[in-house]
């Protein structure tokens, strides 16, 4: 079985879509070189007319992509740092995302925002360690956080093909991972969760790099409890059907996600489960603390991130009740 790395999967998705669809083009900093690895070789294959190194003008090139998209292109915009999304929140949340409704359906904005290296970069400190996918979900921008190379391929493919803006976050901690692939890679629909492990006692909803963590914990707890692990794959839209079925069945929920606690993705899952899915006991969240700023020193960095130990404790806590 061939092995596929996470970065190679994203690269392959871009390669395939660029070959399939002439309208796909790439904007970003150092994308011709392929600094993040994701766009490597694409400029050589498709020319610097389609893979465009931009100056350090995130706000302009994000809206440039909007204009190009309305004019018929399918731009992919790569950001070097997740927190650059704060710089372009206006251009994404207030411009691209709103065009369709504001024009009464005249314009659609098929842009993909690619955010590699999201979450802690272990030692990169405050301004390079955020994982702001909940913000985009809150605004209503379709947002994927793929947990495996094959999902990374499939979700990026769907993102590019979607007629609306879509953000794809590639967590730092997954970018070095690989997966054995049997069979063909395929598109993964936005809004379709993946049940990684079936179980009957508790549902664990895990996002991004915390999916493998949740799977490890579930395996470690196998003698104690039967843990179902679900990856929503897109944090907006959410596959409520799959989540609802599982949570209604187990009656117990733990959400682990790498957002700040206040108004984070986990809060939404817990609230909806409490309102609609007939929880037997109160749910638990494992997240970053409220308003977390990731400190530099590694022990401090790690202290604020959700991890296996916290998840194990949360699972045990909901099972005890």
């Amino acid at each position: 079985m061939p092995s596929l790395s996470y970065i190679a999967a994203l690269n392959q998705a871009l390669r395939d879509e660029m070959a399939r669809d002439e309208r796909v083009c790439i904007f970003g900093e150092d994308v011709c070189l392929g600094l993040t690895g994701i766009t490597k070789g694409l400029a050589e294959a498709h020319g610097t007319g389609r893979v465009v190194d931009t100056p350090l003008s995130e706000q302009a090139f994000t809206s440039l992509a909007t204009g190009a998209a309305i004019a018929g292109q399918r731009p992919v915009v790569e950001f070097q740092i997740p927190s650059l999304l704060y710089l372009v929140f206006e251009q994404i949340a207030n411009q691209a995302h709103k065009f369709s409704l504001m024009t009464g359906g005249q314009a659609s904005v098929p842009v993909t925002y690619l955010v590699p290296g999201s979450g802690s970069r272990s030692g990169m400190a405050g301004q390079h360690s955020d994982h702001p996918y909940s913000l985009l979900a809150h605004v209503g921008v379709k947002t994927a956080v793929p947990a495996t190379p094959s999902d990374a391929y499939g979700l990026l493919l769907s993102a590019i093909r979607e007629p609306d803006p879509v953000a794809v976050f590639a967590p730092t901690l997954l970018m070095g991972t690989s997966e054995e692939i049997d069979g063909d890679l395929d598109a993964v629909p936005l809004g379709s969760a993946r049940t990684h492990r079936e179980g009957t006692d508790v549902t664990v909803v895990a996002v991004g790099h915390l999916v493998p963590v949740a799977l490890q914990v579930a395996a470690d707890l196998a003698d104690e409890a039967s843990v179902e692990v679900i990856d929503p794959r897109t944090v907006y839209p959410v596959d409520w059907e799959t989540l609802g079925k599982s949570i209604s069945r187990t009656g117990r929920l733990v959400v682990i996600d790498d957002s700040n606690r206040m108004c984070g993705f986990g809060a939404e899952i817990a609230a909806t489960a409490a309102e609609e899915f007939g929880l037997a006991v109160p749910p638990k969240r494992v997240s970053r603390p409220d308003g977390a700023v990731i400190p530099y020193a590694l022990n401090l960095d790690h202290a604020l991130l959700p991890d296996a130990l916290e998840l194990t404790e949360a699972i045990r806590a909901v099972l005890r009740r």
Binding site: G67, A71, Q73, S100, L101, G104, A107, P163, G191, P237
Partner: protein, 311 residues
């Protein structure tokens, strides 16, 4: 120009009666800019506009009936009542919308120009309208740089009406707009924005050069808004411009200037035609239905997402 003027006069009334909600940013006084520039634009050329956008949208060819219906919030409006004054758009006519955020349209126009060149439509140009206030927005300066760097067919039209709300331009802007634009590598010029023929001549040169592949251009149009920044100013009794200054500019009304160049019979004919168009628009907008509140989130996405209600 007469169409824009009469359209705006009607809107001012309707903003008072409440038929138009949210008020408007009247374009009255600045008509020569939109009309002079649009004289050289074709249907497939793209424009991005501003909060003060009615003139740009009408001059680019939007149907006054549907433009007015939009302001009335009607389902027959340009944006089906979802955009209103600050987002009026007709994408099929290359009107990528008025915009509620100062300077936001500039990079979008650069993107449209980039796409046009990429798609081999190298006769197409994109025009970005913005005010003097937008020259202090970083994203506009970023857009200048990208357009110049990639030699894109963009005409940046700066309508310098002397104020960003209450802030006079000499207290908001260091240096000179034309020299600033030239510093980015744009071919830049200034023109009397109160004279439609002067604007048309300058814009004609710039648009032709853009079409010929000679890179982005910048045109500063010295103009003045005869009314308040927004209709709410009048209601609030705000005033920050002295009467003599206002009078000196209204004396240079671009409509009066152009009328003097026409045979009186021709001018009268234009006026009559416009009066009929406005009457037709008013009747159309007034008799147009609104939308069902249950459809308030229609068009949120081009692809589907089942949105959950708030309660």
């Amino acid at each position: 120009m007469r169409l824009i003027r009469e359209f705006e006069e009607h809107c001012l009334e309707m903003a008072v009666t409440g038929t138009i909600v949210g008020g408007i940013h009247p374009y009255i006084g600045q008509e020569a800019v939109a009309v002079g520039v649009s004289a050289h634009l074709r249907k497939d050329d793209v424009i991005t506009s501003t909060h003060r956008g009615h003139g740009h949208v009408l001059a680019k060819g939007a149907d006054p009936k549907r433009a007015l219906a939009e302001l009335y919030g009607a389902s027959t409006g340009l944006n089906r009542g979802r955009g209103g004054s600050m987002h009026a758009a007709d994408v099929g006519l290359g009107i990528y919308g008025a915009n509620g955020i100062v300077g936001a349209g500039a990079p979008i126009a650069v993107g449209a120009a980039w796409a046009a060149r990429r798609q081999g439509r190298d006769q197409q140009v994109a025009v970005a309208y913005f005010g003097d206030g937008a020259l202090s927005q970083g994203v506009v300066l970023e857009a200048f740089n990208l357009a110049a760097l990639w030699s894109l067919p963009v005409l940046f039209v700066c309508e310098n009406n002397g104020y960003a709300i209450s802030l006079p331009v000499d207290r908001g802007l260091a240096g000179d707009p034309v020299r600033r634009a030239a510093g980015f590598g744009l071919t830049a010029a200034a023109v009397d924005g109160m004279d439609v023929e002067a604007v048309a001549e300058a814009a004609g040169r710039a648009v032709a050069a853009c079409r010929a592949g000679r890179g982005p251009h910048f045109l500063e149009c010295a103009t003045y808004r005869f009314r308040g920044h927004h209709t709410v100013e009048h209601l609030m009794g705000i005033n920050y411009r002295d009467e003599a200054e206002v009078a000196s500019w209204t004396a240079r009304d671009p409509l009066a200037r152009q009328r003097a160049r026409l045979a009186p019979a021709v001018a009268d004919e234009v006026d009559a035609e416009i009066a009929a168009l406005i009457a037709e628009a008013v009747a159309f907008a007034g008799s147009s239905p609104g939308s069902d509140p249950r459809d308030a989130l229609d068009y949120l996405y081009a692809g589907m997402v089942p949105t959950r209600p708030g309660a």
